[in-house]
Amino acid sequence: MQTILDVQGIHTFIGQYHILQGVDVRVPAGSITALLGRNGAGKTTTLKSILGLTPPRQGKVILDGREVQGMRSFDIAAMGIGFVPEHRAIFRDLSVEENLKLAERAKGDYVRKRDFIFDLFPDLKRLIALPGTSLSGGQQQMLAIARALVADNNLLLIDEPSEGLAPVIIEHMMSVIRQLSAQSTVVLVEQNFLVASKLAEYYVIIEEGRSVRSGMMKDLVSDKAAIHRYLGAA
């Protein structure tokens, strides 16, 4: 199977802290891959290192066959990565529509993708003129994902999509992410193992800044001992 993203032994520092100490992630095209691990293991930093937001000092990040480590973040993102960050990072001073328009990479992206986005999230159409501040957590999460869809991205990096959401909304998010994976590859950071195991086909476990185990999700689900060892009580 073709690999769209290949992270090879990256080391990342934040300030003087050696956060990532050798992380490997292989993401097959068209799949959903979950990054698992405990709080503070380095999952978010891995996503940010891929994008160059926290540039890795060592190792390679190969995107579509091209080494991108050391490139400027916006150039990496412009190669077709949609980023849905932890805590959503909705722009408060921008309206919902402006939040989406800002994500345009070519003029007219928003108009072109509008119907597709409102099909996935009918709520957003109603909220279009409101400022980003007035959205609920679930609505913010919808907007954050929608924002990553405005440009034609073939890789989506989604950080903690279920965090702080009501179960009904989590269900909705999961179905949306499953729908999206038909068109683009998804890398998911997810604390909630139940959500991750239902969505992802592949997994990578990160522990204390190192990738320690990876493979097919269905193998992990049946391995209760491993789940307990790496992820705590599951």
């Binding site: 050391g70 722009f91 921008l94």
Partner: protein, 515 residues
Amino acid sequence: MSTFFRKNLLPLATLIVIIIFFLAAAQGMNSQDFVITLLRGLSVGAVTFLVASGFSLIFGLLDVLNLAHGTLFMIGAYIGWTVFVRPDTFVDLLTPLALALSGFTLRDVYPLLSDRIRLSLSMKRILPWALILVSALLFILVLPRYPIAGWNLDNYAQSPVTYSYMADQGTRLPPPTVAFDQISPALAIGGLLLVSLLGSFGLSLFDQSARRSPQLTWRSYASFVILLFIGLITFIFNDALTNFLLGLNANWLFFIAVIVATLSGAGLGALMEMTLIRPLYSRPIYQLMLTIGLSAIGVQIVQAVWGRPEFIMPKPTLFNGSGASCPATNFSSWWQGNCSTILLLGGRVRVYNEILIPIIGVLVLIAVWILLQRTRLGMIIRAGVQDREMVEALGINVRRAFTIVFALGVGLATLGGALAAPSMGLSNAMGESLLLDALIALAIGGLTSYPGAALGSLLVGLIQQFMIQYGQIGISIPFTSLVLKPTPPIVPASTVLLMVIILLILPNGLLGKKE
């Protein structure tokens, strides 16, 4: 709408109390004093706003407290003066300036070049310094030999003071003639180009965060070629350009002077951001020290070039008339006589200071507001103020937005300087007090709020001018027969007092957002 009132109850209440106080205190004033003082307040407020808004834009997006902003305001005034009073000097400067700046436009090329250089670590540390040193030495060698028609600070008859005075009287002193006799033109041009290339490459090596861009296109070289072209064209057509400017009507020349001051400020701002501020984004304390240092250096340069004595900048002829028909009684008679003053409600109002400057202030307010609210750049700025990382993750070059905002902010300051020069006069110290006023205005209005900058500047301007006026006529305390006469030292103190009171009630200022 009702939610708007509920959410902003405290700021609105504060504002209303300020207005009530203001109206109560203004009771004892006759309408003529009131109009003049109000307009003067607007004028001071507009100039303060030009400094405060730029400062606030830069701080909002870049988190840089640019303490050199007042000095840049002053430099704007001196640049405006030079173009207006000594256009020949300005034209002579164009070639060396264009050449000296050209290297800095190659910033996309340098990271690739530095990747190619294979040197030991210690040599890599020394290299930037060595390049800058060589560049500086070359600069010191070449520039003094480059013929630039200037003035003579030691000779009163050829000093800026005299040139200003003569220009104000409507006669221009014949510009001194200079020629290439100490250096050949080719050597001078080549030398300046080398200065620029070495210096900008050296500075770019300090920027550790510089990362390679995907590939070089013609765009990476376009600005360099354009600047080179400008340098050569202005070199060839130097005399023709000088004669053209000298032959221009003073109103047009003033307009050009203001534009040039604004654009030079923008260019200076962009240069500052790309070379000096950029390596220090993660070190706020160093930024403070850098901008304070730049401010001091700016003052020294201005003293060395234009001298210490204060001098005036003539007003454009449109606002400088004093014929028999002056002061004008209405705007059509002003238009015919170009009077410097106009009678409004019985008060004599200076047209340039008290009508033109506030109007320009309002126009700038609206223009920047439109830029922020209606353009994509504005969207990037508003989003970047909150979360730069996320904007970059969307594939947007935030750094370019940083450079543009810095250029815009400094451009607004130099625009303010050039505009204020005819009313304030030029002095080395004109920037310091204004920066202080601008900071007070921002504290009152809200540090990163653009409307807050406008409101705060307005309040600062009005309070200052009304306090000066009250110093002469006294404040009649309502419902009593008491009359309070503030002494002159109260004038600067009054704005600080207002700031303290507002910050006690609203720690984020009138329109600032809670962090």
